[in-house]
């Protein structure tokens, strides 16, 4: 089972994860005792810190501190303005090229994500069987029988985990379990 790392646990405890990660790890922690305990401990620590930093120490004069800070900031701004080089007019980056570049990047990334062959990343163990000119083999689409110039592929859903096996009676098998319905489907492609 994949567990969230400490950083994600801390962000989850503080409610600061993006919603999709929050959904993912909340589901995980409902079923993982260790992670749940870790989150409870982090939440307790967070509550302790919040409680003990809610008010300023008595010796701090906030009004005087604020006045000093405003004065320092003002001095800093004036000094920065005095030494700032003049920018030539017309060289400022407009928002439109940046927007176009971002959009293009998104299109490229989306295309890559949708078309990537996941078999190349998470490669399944393969199974194959052959006799004479006929061959049955597992591949990225499913189980394929090639014979006499024709080809038949029993396709497997790409969104589900597939386990392939072969037995010596002459069949390559694929087993999938639908993650939504839980229905088990076992496909065989026979050599004979």
């Amino acid at each position: 089972m994949l567990h969230p790392d400490l950083r994600n646990l801390a962000l989850l405890a503080g409610g600061e994860l993006p919603w999709w990660q929050r959904y993912r790890w909340s589901f995980h922690t409902r079923n993982c005792e260790n992670c749940r305990q870790e989150i409870e401990a982090l939440a307790e620590s967070r509550a302790f810190v919040a409680e003990n930093t809610a008010s300023l120490p008595a010796f701090v004069d906030w009004d005087r501190l604020a006045a000093d800070m405003r004065a320092n900031i003002q001095v800093g701004l004036e000094a920065g303005e005095a030494i700032r080089p003049r920018e030539p007019v017309g060289l400022r980056l407009d928002w439109r090229p940046a927007f176009a570049l971002t959009a293009l990047t998104l299109v490229v990334l989306t295309g890559w994500y949708l078309n990537i062959n996941r078999q190349n990343i998470y490669r399944l163990p393969s199974a194959s069987l052959e006799a004479g000119d006929a061959r049955v083999e597992s591949g990225s689409d499913g189980i394929m029988l090639t014979r006499g110039g024709g080809r038949m592929t029993v396709m497997q859903p790409k969104t589900q985990a597939v386990s392939y096996s072969v037995n010596s009676t002459g069949a390559v098998s694929a087993r999938t379990i639908d993650s939504e319905t839980g229905q088990v489907t076992i496909s065989h492609v026979y050599l004979d």
Partner: protein, 381 residues
Amino acid sequence: MSISTKLSGSTRLWGSVLFASALFAQSELDVARSLKVEFPTDAPIAFASHDLGDSRATPRGGAVVVDLHSSLMLRNVGTQRIRGITLLIVAQEVTPGGKASVSVPSLDIAVGDTFSVRLDLRLLRPSGASGAGPLVRVTLDGVLFDSLGFYGPNRLDSRRVMTVWELEARRDRKFFAAALANGGIENLRQVVVTAQARMDARPRLDVQVARGRVTAYDPSRSVQFAFVKFPDSPIESMRGSAAVTATEIHAPRLELRNTSSKSVRHVEMGWILADSNGKEVFASSVPAKVNLAPGQSGQALDDTFLKVARPEGRPLNVTSMKGFVSSVEFADDTVWIPTRQDLGRGNLEALAAPSAEEERLLGLYRKKGINALVAELKKFQ
């Protein structure tokens, strides 16, 4: 898109798929006639409806690629609950003699209920091939009931295979139900997490099997099988050997003895290979048709040539082999499978693939949590 089905009598089904004729009229192939579904007249299953999804035909070079995506809605019109179904798919027009099957085990379909079976096929038909008949014919090979009774022509040995799946399903549900009964939800959770970790860590191999030919192998190195023995097994594995190279196993021979009081007609053995570091991995199952009367011994021979490699491509330097009886079919159609205690021997639980039902139950836990799993286990009690 249109669908035509013809029912003769109460249960005869002819389904013909009509799809996308306007879109693909330029194609030589009439997709409308690509798929034909035909069930026997007395089948306990009837056709309810049909969803064709985005089936299409696409010319590609000198051939036509036909993608058939179909969901058959079927209804239990028999008198018993259905536990499994196997559909036979024949693509004679595309690959001469080519056949496949789609099975759905672990079902619990009450009388009158409907369920779906999905078919996703891709066919590459050379343009010169005859196109007179449908490319694919789908028929019923078998239906398994909760009584373990069977209906169907059984051309694919579906009776034995589905009975094994159903017995494994009952065994594994019982195992998880016992964990719940003995230690409550937390104990069940622990057992499930352990099973999931075992499944995730199971080592796997690339396996290529060639039949009926002798390839270049070194016959001088014969390796004896060791056997994991189960106390209640009706088959005793007496001895066995195979010719082995670093990555290939050829022509296994097994000597078996029927220790039961019933005739045995089929034995399935699991193969486990070990490398020079002693690391073991499950390779394949070796079914053997035998006819052993009670007390009789016999040999199971196979002309199989097995080539194995680790998924990352590294060769597995096979130094030893281990076998175990994974199922036995008797002449009276009954079936024996090992118990969970049996699978605990010889580290088999960690090496052999979990049953389809165990994988389904683990998936249910991952997806919906422990309470859904508990409800599912109670449903079958």
